[in-house]
């Protein structure tokens, strides 16, 4: 018999044998060699003024031949890093996930929420020297929100923009007209997928307004950029930026340790100490990214609200965070959009309550409940680990959860699993509620729980048209209360973003929006 092993929950023998697992474990094990190799020293990113010059090489996770440099259709991590440095939207989400002016000085709505006036920042130039005008802004929005073929950043814009009535008033003023009132249009204009490009844009030689100008792009491998000296904001410290794809986590971390690259996104939790040991550091940021359990509210047993409530009480949220995220997470309260100003933070934090769960199951006539939970590696590595942990937690309440791992998970049955998981990134409440809880014909393309609650929907739609922030917050609070009490999502936590940087790298600050301080490499010195 084998000795019982502890400390590796949800880690199957097969996973251990997988190459990546061994690779990472071996890299972690090389920390053992470090002990023999003596102290390498390293400056860390302490104080002192930031130096100018040099080349910053960023190791981006993933990427491949799918990579694109299209400003409006980024897919992979390296794509997002590229568009964030080449192009800029009209507004920014700042590192606290609040709106901030960028290429627009202001974006203001008429009292009815149907006409929005965009005033462009003066004196901003593209990398080719041309001045940015309202004409360019409208060209960019039309490209991203083309109703026939909207690009990834323009799905929602394409449905609400009135292309006939919108007009460019003068060089610096664009008047956007909407088909329906929409109070949070400014949020849509701040996404990294809605970068402003010149009217003569050519994707073979992409020109933007960002702190770095395009030099070369080789999909799946590397791309290079040079410092844009005439940048309207803080010009970059480094002369050149290179973004290198890494398909493999251990290669990425080895390169960082060897000093070949200066930053990496998505540092594996188990390698944080290795990087710190080599003189680098880990940048930990809060995010609103979540990996929920999804219960279909229209089929048994979850059609009974008591069963849903019981399942939500069964989950030990802190244990989920500790074991599946190595502690790098914050508690969830079955509500998404934690950075939304209207987030219902006053609702009591739900905690594990086995007695209450048992009693709810009894009332529902579902003692000894058996359910099948669908999961898969393509949701992300956290999902199968969380599913296995739920099996253990549910046992205490006498619920028998059987995990079925699907390969792939995102197949024909996605969106019809009675009980499954999914992943979501940071968004505010209204856009998330629309895609995740509305019926498909009203925009709910990813409604996993088949939630169909007219009262909730009306509140969200009303809020989307309400310009008064206090009133909007009130409507959204009511909507969140309904989901908090009856919804089909178990949101146990929000993942923290952990990125790595090498010795002597300065200027990185955590951001709630995107990894590595929203990829604002102009602030980084090496």
């Amino acid at each position: 018999m084998n000795q019982p092993r502890n400390g590796m929950p949800g880690f199957s023998r097969r996973q251990l044998l997988k190459y990546s697992g061994i690779g990472v474990a071996a890299v972690a094990g090389s920390g053992f060699l470090a002990a023999c190799g003596g102290d390498d020293g390293g400056g860390g990113s302490g104080g002192g003024p930031q130096k100018s010059g040099g080349t910053l090489i960023h190791g981006a996770t993933g990427g491949g031949s799918k990579d694109t440099i299209d400003p409006h259709a980024p897919v992979t991590n390296p794509d997002i890093a590229r568009v964030s440095n080449l192009f800029e939207p009209l507004l920014f989400w700042n590192s606290n996930y609040e709106l901030e002016p960028a290429l627009a000085e202001s974006v203001e709505s008429s009292p009815d929420g149907k006409t929005w006036t965009v005033t462009m920042r003066q004196g901003v130039t593209f990398h080719n020297g041309k001045t940015v005008t309202a004409e360019d802004a409208w060209f960019s929005l039309q490209r991203v929100a083309d109703p026939k073929a909207p690009l990834s950043g323009g799905g929602q814009l394409s449905q609400i923009l009135d292309f006939e009535s919108t007009k460019v008033v003068d060089e610096t003023t664009l008047q956007l007209v909407l088909k329906v009132p929409y109070a949070i249009l400014d949020g849509l204009l701040a996404e990294y997928t809605v970068g402003i490009i010149p009217t003569d844009f050519d994707v073979a030689n992409p020109v933007g307004t960002g702190a770095f100008a395009y030099k070369s792009f080789d999909p799946g491998q590397t791309s290079t950029f040079t410092r844009y000296a005439d940048y309207w904001g803080d010009a970059a410290f480094v002369d050149e930026l290179q973004i290198q794809d890494f398909a493999d986590d251990s290669a990425k971390v080895n390169a960082l340790q060897a000093g070949q690259i200066q930053t990496v996104d998505n540092l594996p939790y188990n390698l944080i100490d290795t990087i710190k040991g080599a003189g680098g550091g880990a940048l930990v940021s809060e995010t609103g990214a979540w990996i929920p359990f999804t219960m279909r509210v229209d089929v048994a047993p979850f059609s009974d609200v008591k069963v849903r409530q019981a399942m939500r009480l069964i989950v030990d949220r802190q244990q989920m965070i500790d074991q599946t995220l190595s502690g790098y997470g914050s508690l969830g309260n079955d509500l998404y959009a934690p950075f939304d100003p209207a987030y219902a933070s006053d609702l009591p934090q739900r905690e594990q309550d086995i007695d209450q769960a048992k009693s709810l199951l009894q009332q529902a006539g579902q003692e000894g409940l058996q359910v099948e939970l669908f999961t898969g590696d393509d949701i992300g590595s956290v999902a199968p680990a969380a599913a296995n942990l739920l099996v253990e937690q549910a046992k205490a309440a006498g619920v028998d959860v059987k995990v079925t791992k699907k390969t792939p998970f995102y197949d024909d049955n996605y969106l019809s699993y009675p009980f499954a998981q999914d992943f979501w990134n940071t968004r505010n409440y209204i856009p998330q509620a629309v895609v995740g809880t509305f019926p498909p014909d009203q925009g709910g393309t990813y409604n996993e729980t088949h939630w169909d609650n007219e009262e909730h929907r009306n509140l969200v739609n009303q809020a989307a048209q309400e310009l008064d922030e206090a009133k909007r917050a009130d409507l959204l609070h009511q909507a969140q209360e309904i989901e908090y009490n009856e919804g089909g999502l178990i949101i146990w936590g929000f993942r923290k973003q952990v990125d790595g940087y090498g010795a002597n790298v300065q200027g990185l600050e955590p951001s709630k929006y995107l990894p590595l301080g929203s990829y604002k490499f102009n602030k980084v010195s090496v």
């Binding site: 023999c36 031949s65 999909p219 491998q221 493999d248 290669a251």
Partner: protein, 347 residues
């Protein structure tokens, strides 16, 4: 070296068979070659059927490519289905793919809509350079180690070498790679790069230092095996009657080793080197991933991940062709170097 010289050096049991007439011999060789080439082509054709069926049997590629977005993006579904000719029958899709392959056009990548060949060609060159570089270091190294071992046979140096080789032969390539990285790049010494950082539009060997660790990993992975086989066959040859006879004739030991023993031990060596080279063509996948080396292995992993069917098919065919060609060349070389087999064919 002519036949006559070899025949005097290496007494052959079939020596009494009269040397064939020239014309007849050439024709026999042509027939043999044609047959082998035909078999190789047949193998490749069978592989193409298997590759096509395997990639077709993986289920709906469009769904696999779009994953979670399948339901919300009907436009892209239609576009991909059109590109894959999903409406055609399996047979007609196979023949249009095979036709494209034979005319040098393996199709268009599903992931980025660029021609497959344009993306593969530089990776093929990069991987070939890596494998050939490894072979160029590995072959002489394996032979030298084997000869040293044989020289000291059954004495302490031989035992030590054999123990080390045996231990190394048991290590998988990624363990060797990870240990080398920790030793030379990240943890103990910081003298070599840990990964290949591609310079835009350049080659990985533009920075020769970055080639050291991937090459060394492949060499250390394959050399022990080759060296042990060569040692075994050298020992067998050395104990044979004709080497004994050469020694008795008073030929110096060095010459005996070089001309009589090594030449005859080279044939099993060639077979095992060929096997290892063919093996490297596929096994380079993991080493390329570990060192972020931009070769076919990394491209294959990426394409499989993207469910990029045309890319996977083209890359599988390239790797299969390397297997077939390398084995063909090895067979040819072995026969040319084995008088017995050579005369058997031409007679």
């Amino acid at each position: 070296m002519t036949d006559m010289e070899l025949a005097t050096l290496v007494p052959d049991p079939l020596e009494e068979v009269a040397p064939p007439r020239r014309q007849h011999g050439a024709a026999a060789w042509a027939v043999w070659l044609a047959r082998r080439l035909g078999l190789a082509l047949l193998t490749l054709w069978l592989v193409s059927v298997l590759v096509f069926l395997a990639t077709a049997a993986l289920g709906d590629p469009v769904r696999a490519i779009l994953g979670r977005d399948y339901n919300s993006n009907p436009g892209r579904v239609a576009q991909l289905e059109a590109q894959l000719n999903a409406d055609d029958s399996l047979v007609s899709r196979y023949f249009s793919w095979l036709g494209g392959l034979l005319s040098g056009d393996p199709g268009t990548s599903l992931a980025n809509q660029r021609p497959v060949w344009e993306q593969i060609s530089s990776s093929v060159v990069n991987s070939a350079v890596l494998v050939l570089l490894a072979a160029a270091v590995m072959i002489p190294l394996a032979f030298v180690v084997a000869m040293i071992s044989v020289h000291y046979r059954r004495r302490r140096p031989d035992t030590v070498i054999q123990t080390i080789l045996l231990a190394m032969a048991g290590l998988p390539e990624f363990v060797i790679g990870v240990l080398l990285i920790a030793l030379f790049a990240t943890t103990v010494f910081h003298v070599l790069p840990a990964v290949t950082i591609s310079s835009p539009n350049g080659h990985p060997w533009d920075n020769p230092k970055a080639m050291v660790l991937p090459t060394l990993t492949l060499v250390l992975w394959v050399a022990p095996y080759v060296s042990r086989i060569v040692r075994a066959s050298l020992l067998e040859v050395i104990d044979s009657d004709y080497v004994e006879l050469a020694r008795l004739k008073g030929i110096p030991e060095k010459v005996v080793m070089r001309k009589h023993a090594l030449l005859n031990a080279i044939v099993p060596g060639i077979q095992v080197i060929a096997l290892q080279l063919a093996f490297l063509a596929g096994g380079v996948v993991i080493v390329e991933t570990l060192f972020a080396y931009p070769g076919i292995g990394r491209l294959l992993v990426d394409s499989v991940r993207n469910h990029d069917v045309p890319m996977v098919q083209a890359l599988s065919m390239i790797i299969a062709s390397v297997y077939v060609v390398v084995n063909l060349v090895a067979d040819l070389l072995s026969i040319l170097l084995t008088p017995r087999a050579r005369t058997a064919i031409s007679s």
